[in-house]
Symmetry: C2
Subunit: 428 residues, 2 copies
């Protein structure tokens, strides 16, 4: 593992003792995230810091609840060393999401524990921005109270929205499927939460979902992937691109807008008002319209999206010809649009998320076929198709992960736990 | 300027004196490339190396012909310092190109001088790979003889091909418009050149053109651009993408394949055999078919492409209605396809190259209009449209630039010039 190079900063900006200490705490914490568990001696050897410093840094990280003592080291010659590993079970990042037919929230701890995970169905378009933001404010405030009772510290909130987001002022410029224009989400939520001592951010839903899904494939079947494309099926199609290991945002943060590639039939009107957009044939609305009658309960947006998809899956398994034909058609269009992206971006992995993942069993055969036909490079350019297991929680998980990064940048953000909280912290 | 961090290498691999010296030579050379000219004292202050070391390093770089003494420093208090600046007028990289209707070569010196620039029209498809590689071998061998007479040292050759390239073994996997499949370009050219002491590489034409064009826009109207898309108009459309300052290659090096986005009319057959590909409506063949009669001399591939485009420009300026209508149609399709890329990649700058640049005056109004209509983000996502001034030399220039990078990695590749060559070197 390459240690971040503290000393390469410009000579003008002399580092004081606190800055150096903070940097070294971050180096040790980041190292433990990468290696899972290690002895103090190994951390010293691999970071280049001396053993006495490591002992002091690890002690501070334990005090802050970010690291804990673990089992003794096995499988090495000599005296077994005591291992330390990442903890942080009471330090969490929040991810929230505003989507067309639900709002959601996740609290994710540094050690990977999920401390809260909620999704509420609502009709965002009918309610309008103010009421949706009210509902999200109530959801977040409730989670903050529960987390406080647990003794958990929140280090940040990142809100996912399916649209074009200006991360810096924290504004949703355009969210076509929500019919939002210029909504100052960060200010609005801050107002509803009152004084909170952590940063609040807003970002594109598909970008945040891509961060979580990329983490997922790295931990799973594709540990060396550097280029991935995530396609999230919902009312629209969200696109998130990781290029050479980094999220592709583009020059102004508007990258990954894939839903409106004009490859669909020219008679289909999209939510954006244009004709022939890709998402007008692969969005959930199109699938529901083709597979169900107008009064079918599956179309009811007040029902949770997972319940509706479970019902569609049941009908497909039972051989409902209308559902199977609609899934085949969506699969073909999904593959054709995906081929455009694979030709341009040549990902190692194309990840299907959202409703595409839920119904992947019926979609992937057509996707594979269309990729083989329409990708110019041999063997679909080496692109594998993977199905995300994160469900509709990918964006809130990616948001929570993003919020947590602050701790890895500066572990001193986490206040030293008092005795009572340390007990709740569940140390070994 | 951040100096590359030599000392962060793993502790196991101790650096010997020569490695250190080589690294420091590279640091000084890279610094002079970035700042243009500087006194030894300033180089010392900005690289963190001591003045005695800098004097010795600069002396060696002067001996190698890579740096020269320049005018005295102005505009500072105190004794004026003698400046040194990048030279390398006799150290050059070669870029070559194999395209559908020409082959080309450029020799570019470290100081930016063009020492050779040739383009030969030929019909690559009719000739087949062996004869085209023979012709390129003759072109390169001739240039090597001329450069040797000048006393110039060649440090590398990079060959551009419009197709899917496996850079590592040096093989063109597929080049649809050349009808090449699995051609081992590097081995074939090495065989034809006999023993040469520099590396030979092959890369995608649009990737290399993007490197040169990105350098061009950084030096011009968009010095802070980090995300650009280059569209090169030729028989097909080449796409080169720079994302966050780096060439987007994708997982297997096949990224940037933009020509076959299926947005064109379904009745137009592409060179790849598919229907409705973008390049089937914006490629040069489509423009010529729509704007000229079947026996028009402008269609003759034996004529140099620039002469043919000059003739089309003259007709457009004279108001030829058939040419103007064809240009308008190509402009509309160019804008529609560009909008797909701008939505996905959100570039700061969309650069038009190849024949699109040559005829930009008649194409850009329609491109601007279509971008405004079809890009989802407001104001085309902040994307400016720029016209490359590199003409059909963008890919050979990018190839030559790529070849030259070896010198900035290791300046000791350049042999110390003998007395006679030093004179030719044109030092001040």
């Amino acid at each position: 593992m390459v240690v971040r190079n503290f000393w390469s900063r410009p000579r003008g900006s002399a580092a004081d003792h606190m800055t150096l200490r903070r940097h070294n705490l971050a180096v040790v914490l980041e190292h433990l995230r990468a290696v899972d568990a290690a002895s103090r001696a190994r951390v010293a050897a691999e970071t280049g810091l001396n053993k006495a410093t490591i002992s002091s840094l690890v002690a501070e990280l334990i005090d802050r609840g970010l690291v804990r003592e673990a089992e003794a080291e096995r499988g090495r010659l000599g005296r077994p060393g005591q291992l330390v590993r990442l903890d942080g079970g009471l330090v969490c990042g929040l991810g929230a999401e505003i989507n067309v037919d639900y709002i959601a929230l996740m609290a994710l701890a540094v050690n990977g524990d999920v401390l809260a995970d909620t999704r509420l169905p609502l009709d965002a378009e009918a309610l309008g921005p103010a009421a949706v933001l009210d509902a999200l404010g109530v959801l977040v405030a409730g989670a903050l109270r529960s987390l406080a009772k647990l003794g958990a510290q929140v280090v940040g909130l990142t809100i996912a929205v399916p649209g074009l987001v200006q991360v810096e002022p924290g504004v949703v410029a355009v969210a076509p499927n929500l019919h939002w224009h210029g909504v100052a989400v960060v200010d609005e939520i801050r107002e509803r939460l009152g004084a909170v001592d952590f940063p609040v951010r807003v970002d594109n839903e598909a970008n945040l979902a891509a961060i979580a899904s990329y983490t997922e494939v790295l931990a799973g079947a594709h540990p060396s992937a550097r280029d991935v494309v995530l396609l999230t099926g919902a009312v629209g199609v969200g696109g998130g691109v990781v290029s050479d290991g980094r999220l592709l945002r583009g020059g102004h943060g508007f990258g990954g807008e894939v839903g409106h590639i004009p490859i669909g039939p020219a008679d289909r009107t999209c939510g954006c008002g244009r004709l022939g957009c890709w998402e007008a044939v692969v969005g959930l609305g199109s699938l529901l319209a083709a597979s169900t009658a107008a009064d079918d309960k599956v179309r009811d947006p007040a029902l949770d999206v997972v319940a509706r998809l479970d019902e569609l899956s049941a009908r497909a398994r039972a051989g409902d010809p209308r559902v199977l034909a609609a899934l085949e058609e969506v699969g073909v269009w999904l593959g054709r649009g995906a081929a455009v992206l694979v030709n341009i971006l040549n990902p190692d992995v194309l990840i299907l998320g959202g409703y595409f993942a839920h119904l992947a069993r019926w979609l992937t055969p057509a996707v594979d076929r269309e990729l083989a036909l329409h990708v110019i490079a041999p063997d679909a350019g080496g692109c594998a198709v993977a199905v995300s297991g994160l469900g509709f929680a990918a964006a809130v998980r990616g948001g929570a992960q993003t919020s947590l990064e602050a701790v890895f940048e500066d572990p001193t953000l986490v206040v030293v736990a008092d005795a009572a909280q340390t007990t709740i912290g569940g140390k070994a």
